[in-house]
């Protein structure tokens, strides 16, 4: 019978996440990649192939930006390609790395994510307006935050969730980020701060939202044989999943991310996880907005529909809670250079499962973690399940 190859993460690297960084995209990608290689104790010549994740070209302002980033990603004269699934890219690119190795084609794979949103000037917001349908949506003067506010409001309405409950996520994540050395917006804030912050698109307020950022992240993947040679502490990618829902988002009920559930089920099945709530020790769901963390906990089957706010209120998702969620500080605290932010989550799970997360370390020797990202028109879910 066909037996799957196991794939391990053996190194990770991250740049600072900031509103503007001086480095070019290539230089950012290089810094993260170099750090990942160094941490794995590998050289570029040990790498067989490279996969890159990066969100819209309209941020960096380079058409075919994957081609521009070849050298920064360490792909000079190597098999190299870029995957792109909107906001889901950052976690998805780890999945792409997985199939490069699991297919048996390569023993090692560099997985790199880069975003330089500050090139889109004065605000990356313009790039977001071009994600919409040019006939149905763009003529209305649409703004990216509109659609998330619509989704958030629907979610709140269906389950009767209050803004106070949602704000707790922002408080927690920005607080967690105080311990993250790369964080852009770490802060000690209160629920009142969130509720009193400027209204952007009701019910979305300033402190419900992650910032725009520049940054890069990278991990090194290796086959079982190689992983065992280079480290005695590999973290295995045991399950990968991804799923896209219909383009026609106004034809769907936005209260629940079915596509995240579909992606999670794919990954859980592969990893042999039957009861995610019990078996997963630490989770990094995508949190560009605070309500998304709750939404995604439900999609990841970490709780029942509508139950995530309650768990949050009870402190279950705190770093020292029963199910630590976004111990890194998430996008709300660390920042959101789209694809790099997603891969940052994979890096965090890697560090957590290795017990190397320092002040961010969740207690109790976590063995299984999940990272998840979300994107496109509220339609993409990508999930990676990792074990130590």
């Amino acid at each position: 019978m066909f037996v799957k190859k196991r794939v391990a993460v053996v190194g990770a690297g991250l740049t600072l996440f900031r509103r503007n960084l001086k480095e070019t995209g290539r230089e950012l990608a290089y810094e993260a990649t170099k750090m990942a290689l160094d941490s794995a104790g590998l050289n570029l010549k040990d790498i067989d192939c490279v996969t890159l994740g990066s969100a819209p070209d309209a941020f960096d302002g380079i058409h075919m930006k994957g081609e521009n980033l070849v050298d920064g990603a360490g792909a000079w004269r190597k098999p190299y390609s870029r995957v792109f699934v909107g906001g889901g890219t950052g976690v998805f690119v780890a999945n792409a790395g997985w199939w490069h190795v699991a297919s048996g084609l390569f023993d090692t794979c560099l997985v790199v994510a880069e975003e330089k949103m500050s090139s889109c000037f004065p605000h990356p917001q313009y790039a977001f307006t071009t994600i919409f349908d040019p006939i149905m949506d763009r003529p209305l003067g649409i703004n990216l935050v509109w659609i998330f506010a619509l989704e958030m409001h629907r979610y709140m309405h269906v389950h009767g969730i209050k803004k106070e409950q949602i704000a707790l996520v922002s408080v927690k994540n920005k607080g967690n980020a105080l311990n993250h050395p790369c964080a852009q917006l770490p802060a000690k804030i209160t629920v009142e701060d969130v509720l009193n912050s400027e209204v952007m698109v009701w019910p979305v307020q300033r402190l419900d939202v992650s910032p725009t950022s520049d940054g890069a992240a990278a991990i090194v993947l290796a086959s079982e044989d190689v992983a065992k040679k280079v480290t005695n502490n590999p973290v295995w990618i045991d399950g990968v999943g991804w799923c896209i829902d219909s383009t026609y988002w106004t034809n769907r009920d936005l209260y629940y991310p079915k596509y995240v559930e579909c992606a999670a089920r794919m990954a859980y099945k592969m990893a042999g996880i039957k009861n995610p709530r019990k078996e997963i020790d630490v989770a990094e769901p995508y949190d560009p907005f605070d309500y998304k963390e709750l939404h995604h906990m439900e999609g990841l089957l970490l709780c029942k529909k509508g139950e995530a706010p309650k768990l949050t209120e009870e402190g279950v998702t705190q770093r020292d809670g029963d199910l630590p969620v976004n111990p890194s500080g998430g996008l709300l605290g660390v920042g959101n250079p789209i694809a790099a932010a997603g891969l940052m989550k994979v890096c965090e799970i890697f560090w957590q499962l290795r017990g190397e997360a320092g002040k961010r370390q969740v207690p109790g020797d976590p063995r299984t973690g999940v990272a998840q990202a979300w994107g496109d028109l509220m339609q993409y879910g990508s999930v990676t399940v990792m074990r130590s």
Partner: protein, 157 residues
């Protein structure tokens, strides 16, 4: 396949739009040093990779081959050789150029790299691969720290 198709050409609709907005690009860590030297001193800098024994022009933060960080900057020659060239007759919008542009890849002496730039002060028929050329800089007060601070490359004896 669709059960209906458009059969009357007057029924066809198009929707126009664009993806145009403003961008600013930082020059990067290596790029800033490179363009500062061009702007202030009309000097061309390269970055040396000791491991691979290459001098990159334009300079880079890292060696793409061995991935070492490069921090040794060296001044290189303003002269080089035409490695290849072409004569462009059309502009970006497809219209015919009034004056054809001679583009060339110029290998700067003793380095890895050089410039893809325009040639000036030369007839397009006279350009040859292997021809010696030299960078012509804008006047200092006009230089802004961009690749355009080099006006073009011109033939030298």
């Amino acid at each position: 396949m669709s059960l209906e198709r458009i059969t009357d050409p007057r029924e066809i609709e198009h929707w126009t739009g664009h993806m145009e907005t403003d961008y600013v690009y930082t020059l990067g860590i290596a790029g800033e040093i490179f363009f500062r030297e061009i702007k202030e001193n009309a000097k061309i800098m390269g970055a040396k990779c000791k491991k691979c024994n290459l001098i990159y022009v334009p300079p880079r933060l890292f060696c793409e081959r061995c991935f070492e960080k490069l921090n040794e900057w060296v001044e290189v020659s303003k002269r080089g050789m035409v490695h290849t060239y072409t004569v462009a007759y059309i502009d970006v919008d497809g219209s015919k150029l009034k004056e054809p542009i001679v583009w060339a890849m110029i290998r700067i002496d003793d380095v890895h790299g050089g410039f893809v730039h325009k040639l000036g002060e030369v007839n397009s028929q006279d350009v040859k691969i292997g021809m010696r050329v030299e960078a012509v800089f804008e006047d200092k007060e006009k230089r802004v720290g961009s690749i355009l601070d080099i006006k073009y490359f011109k033939p030298v004896g």
